[in-house]
Symmetry: C2
Subunit: 187 residues, 2 copies
């Protein structure tokens, strides 16, 4: 199926084991033991879902041509056999973030917070896919779902990456964030 829509389902079944769910900011998500990642909106196989989060991949919102070239040269694909650890990090940003003009958001995102520069430091260890939720329609609980995959040996590097971003000016505009770490069975 060729679709930009992805559904993340937390529940009692799913191909990823949830190792931890940590509420960084705002309201928690309900407990779940397993996670399934589904391409599309049709979710037939999930029993006893605790939550279901949807997002679409989309065009770049802040990245310049030069940054895009750097990212494309260094970023690994998802699904590497050695990347048995993953993280799903849903975040929501404040109304004051969304009311800023494009140049103001870009300045905070990169010139102040080095979002792209920080991400590039952790390539090619960490593969990433960003999903947008804010414009799906009505009443989505988050604005973004970011999915990361990495090898167990890169877990502490991944911890550094998210800590650097959370200390940035950009994160002052985050009012809900959940950090969900998952692993393949046996990893």
């Amino acid at each position: 199926m060729d679709t930009r829509l992805f559904t993340f389902v937390g529940g009692e079944t799913g191909s990823w084991r949830i190792a931890s769910m940590r509420t960084i900011m705002g309201e928690p998500l309900a407990h779940a033991a397993r996670l399934e990642v589904v391409n599309g909106s049709f979710v037939p196989e999930i029993k006893s879902a605790s939550w279901l989060l949807r997002g679409v991949t989309s065009n770049e919102r802040y990245v310049t041509h030069e940054e895009q070239q750097l990212l494309m040269a260094k970023q690994p694909r998802l699904g590497r056999p050695e990347a048995t650890c993953a993280a799903l990090i849903p975040i929501r940003k404040t109304a004051s973030w969304w009311s800023l003009a494009q140049d103001e958001r870009r300045r905070i995102f990169e010139e102040s917070s080095s979002h792209v520069t920080t991400g590039i430091k952790y390539l090619p260890a960490v593969a990433r896919r960003l999903h947008h939720c804010r414009d799906l329609g009505e009443n989505e609980p988050f604005d973004f779902l970011t999915w990361f995959e990495y090898a167990p040996a890169d877990s502490s590097a991944f911890d550094e990456l998210v800590a650097e971003l959370r200390a940035s000016e950009e994160w002052k505009y985050v009012d809900r964030e959940i950090d969900i770490r998952v692993a393949r069975d046996g990893a």
Copy 2:
């Protein structure tokens, strides 16, 4: 209801009379005699709909702080009693547009095509609301729905506005566009 989602329904009923539907580029839309504009996704009252187009209002994608201030100072509200003419212009942009980096799209949008500068020339005559469809999920027929309201005396100014934009570099990336003109009964 407080929702950013709007539904435009073409059919046999609706509060706006469709005066013309002109296919500028790409596949036409089916004929409709009337248009209804609904806030939200719940569309209870429309009989015999020919088409139904959905979009959400969202944050600015290209506008700088300075441009945002100019727009907010000059742009009129929707629903002015004298604005008995309106236009719904659904457009879709090409895959090559969406794969460009943010700075490349901004350059084409404003530095080359003067999209904001052109729009501001026609303020406060023309009120406007932009709806995004591309990230609603799957298989939307358009990327944007723009709704414009103006007085009958400003119809030729509105024609100039859309002609200027269609002659721009930005419009080389438009591969589907329908120009739907509507009027209040009696106008």
